[in-house]
Structure formats: structure tokens, C-alpha cells
């Protein structure tokens, strides 16, 4: 149990774009995530005023990342799944205090290497 070593990145994207999000996050150093289905709501009046269609079906991607890669992941998400892209994604991070159950990355890599041999 360690304190303040990780942050939880929450990324809300249009349905079907969770793969884009995970790809972007993995490029920046994230390991895995959890995808939840959700329904978004938007201001109907503003939607018609700006002639923008907001797709209500959303996917929420939860990604737990170490502090040192958090900024890289957020930047990567902004570029590859941000509001200017088809995914129309929003990403933010929450501080996380205590994390248990994560397998140390180095150990997993080591195991893979051994299996290949």
C-alpha cells in the first residue's frame, strides 16, 4: 500500500472510441484500463443553437497510471481523442491515495521474458 504514487485518469468519449483512448494511453505508458458504458446529457437548446449533435452514448475509460506518466497520458489523450477528434473526449485525473493489487510492471516483464526463453 503506497501513498500518492498513482492518479486515476477518467476519459469520457463517444461510444466506440475506447480503443482509440486505450491505444493513446498505452503509447504514453499506461498499462490497462476499464471501460464503462454511460449516457451523456447535453443542453438541447445550446445543441441546436451551435448546430452540433452530441451523441448521448458514451464510454468512460478509467486508467490508473503512475504519477510520472500521468502528464504524458493526458497529453496523448488530448491529442488523439480530444474534443477536436471524432471521439470528442474529455479527460481529467483524480488523486488516488492508496493502491493495492497492482502487479509490479518489472516483475511481469521479467516473467514474459522468461516464458519466451
Amino acid at each position: 500500500m503506497a501513498t500518492n504514487t498513482h492518479e486515476l485518469i477518467i476519459c469520457i468519449v463517444n461510444n466506440g472510441f475506447s480503443d482509440t483512448v486505450m491505444e493513446a494511453a498505452k503509447d504514453a505508458g499506461a498499462r490497462g484500463g476499464t471501460v464503462l458504458n454511460a449516457r451523456g446529457t447535453a443542453n438541447k437548446e445550446a445543441e441546436s443553437f451551435f448546430h452540433i449533435a452530441i451523441q448521448p452514448e458514451k464510454e468512460i475509460v478509467l486508467i490508473l497510471v503512475p504519477l510520472n506518466v500521468k502528464d504524458a497520458v493526458l497529453h496523448s489523450l488530448y491529442e488523439k481523442a480530444g474534443l477536436d477528434t471524432m471521439g470528442q473526449g474529455i479527460a481529467f485525473s483524480l488523486p488516488v491515495d492508496n493502491v493495492v493489487g497492482l502487479t509490479p510492471w518489472k516483475a511481469a516483464e521479467h516473467k514474459d521474458a522468461e516464458e519466451k526463453k
Binding site: M1, H6, L8, S18, M22, R31, G32, G33, T34, V35, L36, N37, I60, V61, L62, L64, L94, P95, V96, D97, N98, V99, V100, G101, L102, T103, A108, K111, D112, E115
Partner: protein, 137 residues
Amino acid sequence: MAEEKNLTKKPVVRKKVHSKVSMNRLKILVTTVMRSKADFYMDYIQSFGANMQFVLYGHGTAPREILTALGLADPERAVIVSVIGEDHVPAVLECLEEKFRTIVNGKGIAYTIPMASVIGKSVFNFLSDNRSQVRRG
């Protein structure tokens, strides 16, 4: 002029009225486990004094090689969100970690997020399981 001054001062005065909780702050405990183990973990966390929890169903995205290396072939996950008092957190996490290690297919991840604010005394007492604060009769 005098009224304007009052208007600008008002929020400052109001801020002082807010009481700040410094004892037993609340935390949001997020536990991600396999879907079939969701009920077990919910009951388990409840036994530590989590009075409100809910479960979200999602799916994991870790690459297949890592999943199989960890013995997690099924991507269906449950995300359990529980609200728990800070004083229970070390015990819960320690016991959860043990369960993650020992239970077959019970591997998971748990972490806590600090809760910034709660409105309502009874809500706070309910969430932090302050049974002694409740007047009976």
C-alpha cells in the same frame, strides 16, 4: 458605494461559517474485480463499515499476454464504488490485498480517492458509519 462594499465582502464572511471536517474524512474506495466476484467483494467491504456502495459493470482492456500471465482470461469486470471513513481504509485495503492474492480468480485492484465535500450531517454520519451519533427513541 457602501452597498457595493458589502456585496464584495459577503462571500468572505460566508466562507468563515463553513465548518471544516478534520476528523475521519471520507474516502471513495474503488475496487475493480472480475464480475463473478463482485457480490463477494461487496459483502466483504460492507463488513468493514461501508454503508453505501454501488457496482458498475465494465470490461478490462489490458493486453491479452498480460491477462493470461495474471490468470485473468475473462475481460468482464465489475467496478465497486464504496464510501468509507478514512479510519477504516488501512484495514480494508490490507484485507483486500490479501484476498486479491489468495482467492482463485479473485485478482483485482483497489484504490481510494479523497472526498472533497459532503452536505448534510445525517448523510455524513450514514456514510462514515457513526452509529454513536444517532439519537434513538
